[in-house]
C-alpha cells in the first residue's frame, strides 16, 4: 500500500509539471463539449422548439388557405411568408427562392382548393343526411383530382426534416377539412331542424377534440423528466470521449518511462511493479473522476451562459461518482495496456487515439445507437464507451439509481481489469523494460 501511495504522489508530481498533459486532459475536453453542444444544438432540438421560414403561395384565396395560414401561425413552428417586397408569392418565385437555398420549405395552395374541400364536405354531409333521413341536401359537383396542396423543399433538406414538415402540414390540412365538414354538417342540421342549440359548430368541434394527446413523465416519482437535448447528450458523451482520450498521455507516459530508463529502475526493485501499476491506475482514475466532474460543472453552469439548456444530473447525482470511477478505470487500464503492448510512441499514440474514435463511433458518442443498424447495435455492446454513455444516460435521462447502473459498472470494471491483467502479464515477462 505504501508503494502504491508513493506512486500516486510521484504521479501527482509529474502530472502538475506536465502543462501540455493538463491542457489535453481538461481544457481540450471542455472546449470539445462546448463546441459540440453548440454545433448540435439545433439538430437536437425538438421541432416544437424550432421556427422555420415557410413560403406560401396562395392561389386559392379561400377559407382553406386562411385556416392553413392561421394554423401554421398559431403553431409557432412556422414563420409564414406569403409575400416578398409587398408582392404575393407566385409559384415560380417560390420555387426560385427554394432553389437559391434561401428557404427550406414552401407550399402552394392551388386555385379552387377551398371549393374542392367544400365540395367534399358537402358530399359527406349529404351522405350523412341521407342515412339519417334528414331530407336536406347541399350542392355538389364532380370531384377534381388536381386540387392538392403542393410542397417544395430545398434540395439539401434532409428526409427527416421533410417528413416532419409533411406531418405538421398534414395535421393543419386535416384540421381545416374537418372544420369544413363540421360546418357543412351543422348547416344541414340547421336546415332540417329549427332548433340549433345542440348542433351548433362549437359543440360539433368539441366532438373532434374529445380524445386528445398529452405526454406525461415515464416515472411515477413526480420528478422532472428531461428530454434528450444537445447538452444532455453532448456533455456526458464528449466528457466520456475526453476521459478515454487519457489513453494518449498514459500510453505515451509509459513508453517514455521505458525509453528514459525509469521503467528499468522499477523493474530492478523487487515486488515494485504491481504496486507501481496500481498506483498509476488509481491516480489516473481519480484524474478521470475529477475531469468528469469538471465537465459536468461546465454543463450545469457554463452552458446556460451561452444560451444552451443546463445539464441536469437526474435524481441520483451521487451515483455518477461510481459511474465516473468505473469509466476512469476502464480508460486508464486501456491506456496502460496500449503503453505496455506497443514499443514506441509512433505505434501507441495513433493506435490509442484512433481506437478511441472507433470505440466512440461504435458506442453512440457521435450518433445515438438507436440510429445504427441492428448489427451495429450489437457491435456497440463491445465498446466501453457505449456502456459508459448508457450508464450516464440511465442516471441523467431516465432518473435511474445506482441499482440501474450496476451492470454498466461491472462491464467497465471487467473491461479494465482484463486489460490490466494482460498488461501485468506482459510487463512481468523478463526484460520488458529493456529497450
Amino acid at each position: 500500500m505504501r508503494k502504491t501511495l508513493a506512486t500516486i504522489i510521484k504521479e501527482w508530481i509529474l502530472f502538475r509539471r506536465d502543462l501540455a498533459g493538463l491542457l489535453l486532459l481538461f481544457i481540450m475536453p471542455a472546449i470539445l463539449i462546448i463546441v459540440m453542444a453548440l454545433v448540435q444544438d439545433a439538430p437536437f432540438r425538438d421541432y416544437q422548439e424550432l421556427r422555420f421560414d415557410l413560403l406560401l403561395a396562395d392561389n386559392d384565396h379561400g377559407s382553406l388557405a386562411g385556416q392553413i395560414k392561421d394554423g401554421l401561425k398559431q403553431s409557432k413552428n412556422f414563420h409564414v411568408i406569403d409575400s416578398i417586397d409587398g408582392q404575393p408569392l407566385s409559384d415560380q418565385k417560390l420555387k426560385t427562392l427554394l432553389m437559391q437555398g434561401k428557404y427550406k420549405v414552401g407550399i402552394v395552395i392551388p386555385k379552387g382548393a377551398t371549393a374542392e374541400v367544400v365540395n367534399s364536405a358537402n358530399t359527406i354531409a349529404n351522405n350523412l343526411s341521407k342515412k339519417l333521413g334528414l331530407g336536406s341536401t347541399l350542392p355538389v359537383r364532380e370531384h377534381r383530382n388536381d386540387a392538392y396542396i403542393r410542397m417544395y423543399f430545398d434540395p439539401v433538406s434532409k428526409p427527416t426534416f421533410r417528413t416532419s414538415i409533411n406531418y405538421a402540414l398534414d395535421k393543419y390540412i386535416t384540421y381545416a377539412c374537418s372544420n369544413e365538414l363540421v360546418k357543412r354538417v351543422s348547416k344541414l342540421s340547421r336546415m332540417s331542424n329549427e332548433d340549433s342549440s345542440t348542433t351548433d359548430d362549437e359543440s360539433m368541434a368539441k366532438v373532434f377534440d374529445g380524445v386528445g394527446l398529452k405526454e406525461e413523465a415515464l416515472n411515477d416519482k413526480g420528478a422532472y423528466t428531461h428530454h434528450m437535448n444537445s447538452v444532455q447528450h453532448n456533455v456526458p458523451a464528449w466528457a466520456i470521449f475526453g476521459i478515454f482520450f487519457i489513453v494518449v498521455p498514459i500510453g505515451g507516459h509509459i513508453i517514455r518511462e521505458r525509453e528514459e530508463g525509469s521503467a528499468l529502475r522499477i523493474e530492478l526493485i523487487p515486488r515494485a511493479h504491481i504496486s507501481v501499476a496500481l498506483g498509476k491506475i488509481l491516480f489516473y482514475t481519480m484524474v478521470c473522476v475529477v475531469q468528469f466532474a469538471v465537465m459536468c460543472s461546465i454543463g450545469i453552469w457554463v452552458m446556460p451562459l451561452i444560451q444552451l439548456p443546463a445539464l441536469h444530473l437526474g435524481l441520483h447525482p451521487m451515483a455518477l461518482i461510481p459511474m465516473a470511477f468505473a469509466i476512469g478505470f476502464a480508460a486508464t487500464s486501456y491506456g496502460y495496456f496500449v503503453g505496455t503492448i506497443f514499443k514506441t510512441t509512433n505505434q501507441a499514440l495513433p493506435f490509442g487515439a484512433i481506437s478511441i474514435v472507433i470505440f466512440s463511433a461504435m458506442g453512440g458518442i457521435w450518433v445515438p445507437i438507436e440510429l445504427l443498424s441492428p448489427a451495429m447495435q450489437k457491435v456497440a455492446l463491445l465498446s466501453p464507451l457505449h456502456w459508459a454513455l448508457d450508464g450516464v444516460h440511465e442516471l441523467i435521462l431516465r432518473n435511474g439509481s445506482f441499482a440501474d447502473i450496476v451492470q454498466h459498472i461491472v462491464f467497465l470494471l471487467c473491461f479494465g481489469t482484463c486489460l490490466w491483467l494482460v498488461s501485468i502479464y506482459k510487463y512481468n515477462k523478463r526484460g520488458h523494460s529493456i529497450q
Binding site: K10, L14, E257, S262, I266, E267, P270, G431
Partner: protein, 248 residues
C-alpha cells in the same frame, strides 16, 4: 562460499540475431572484489549483466549470485544487488531528491532512512546543492552520479555497474572512481564494465576480457600486462586479445 558471482557455461542468443550474445561464458567474482568485465562492443557484457539481475533469461548455463540462482531467486538477488544501468534510470521531470524518496519507498525503506542515506550519498558524490533540481536539467556527469546514488539507497552488498562513466567529464569520473573505491573498501563487491581501460586498471582487483560472448582471459591488470608479451598497459593487453578490427 568465497564467490559473490558464479557464471558457468552461459549461452544466450536473441531472436533474429546471427550470432549468440553469450557463447558458453564462465567466470566468477570473489566476495569483496572489484571485477572489471571488459570487452569490445557486442562482446556480451550488458547481456551478462542483464542475466545476472534477472532481466533476461539465459538459454543455457547457470548464473548465481551469493549462491542463489539468477533466474529463480530474482527477488532475493535484487534485494542485495544494486544495478547501475547504462541508461539514466531516473524520472527526468522529478528532482534527484524526489527520485530518491520514491525509489527508497519502493524498496520499502522508511522515509527517515532514505533521507539519511540520500543525504550522505548526495554529499559524497557532490550533488547536495543540486538535489532539488530536476534530473532532466542535470549535466551528463551529474546524471551518472545520481544514477549511482539511486542504485545504492537499499545498501546492496553487490554493485553491478554498466559503463557508469560513459560520456562523463574528467572531474565527475574521478569523483565516481574515488567513490567506488571507497565503497569497495567498506567490504562490498563490485562488477563493473567499461571501455575505459585506464579506469579499470586503476579500480579493479581483477579483470576478465570477453569477446563474442566467450571468455578470453582473466587476471589482475598487473598480471595480465606482465604475462602478455610486448604489452605495457592494459589497453595493449585488450587489443592483443580482441584484435584491432572495429566492432559495430
Amino acid at each position: 562460499m568465497p564467490f559473490a558471482i558464479e557464471i558457468d557455461g552461459l549461452h544466450k542468443q536473441y531472436k533474429g540475431a546471427w550470432n549468440p550474445a553469450l557463447d558458453g561464458l564462465s567466470l566468477s567474482v570473489k566476495k569483496n572484489q572489484v571485477m572489471g568485465l571488459l570487452g569490445p562492443n557486442g562482446a556480451g557484457k550488458t547481456t551478462c549483466i542483464n542475466i545476472l539481475c534477472g532481466l533476461v533469461d539465459a538459454d543455457s548455463g547457470s548464473a548465481r549470485i551469493y549462491d542463489m540462482d539468477c533466474s529463480r531467486d530474482t527477488l532475493a538477488i535484487r534485494r542485495m544487488t544494486g544495478v547501475v544501468p547504462q541508461q539514466i534510470a531516473l524520472f527526468y521531470n522529478m528532482s534527484a531528491w524526489e527520485n530518491f524518496m520514491y525509489i527508497g519507498r519502493l524498496y520499502g525503506l522508511q522515509d527517515n532512512i532514505v533521507k539519511e542515506r540520500a543525504q550522505n550519498l548526495l554529499e559524497r558524490l557532490g550533488l547536495e546543492k543540486h538535489a532539488d533540481k530536476r534530473v532532466g536539467r542535470y549535466s551528463g556527469g551529474m546524471k551518472r552520479r545520481a544514477n549511482i546514488i539511486a542504485s545504492l539507497l537499499h545498501e546492496p552488498q553487490l554493485l553491478v555497474l554498466d559503463e557508469p562513466t560513459a560520456g562523463v567529464d574528467v572531474q565527475s569520473r574521478a569523483m565516481i572512481m574515488s567513490f567506488l573505491d571507497e565503497y569497495h573498501k567498506r567490504g562490498n563487491t563490485i562488477l563493473y564494465t567499461s571501455h575505459l581501460l585506464e579506469e579499470a586498471e586503476q579500480l579493479c582487483d581483477e579483470v576478465v576480457i570477453i569477446d563474442e560472448g566467450k571468455f578470453i582471459v582473466n587476471g589482475s591488470p598487473k598480471e595480465l600486462v606482465a604475462q602478455t608479451a610486448g604489452c605495457s598497459r592494459l589497453e595493449d593487453v585488450f587489443l592483443h586479445y580482441t584484435g584491432h578490427s572495429v566492432r559495430d
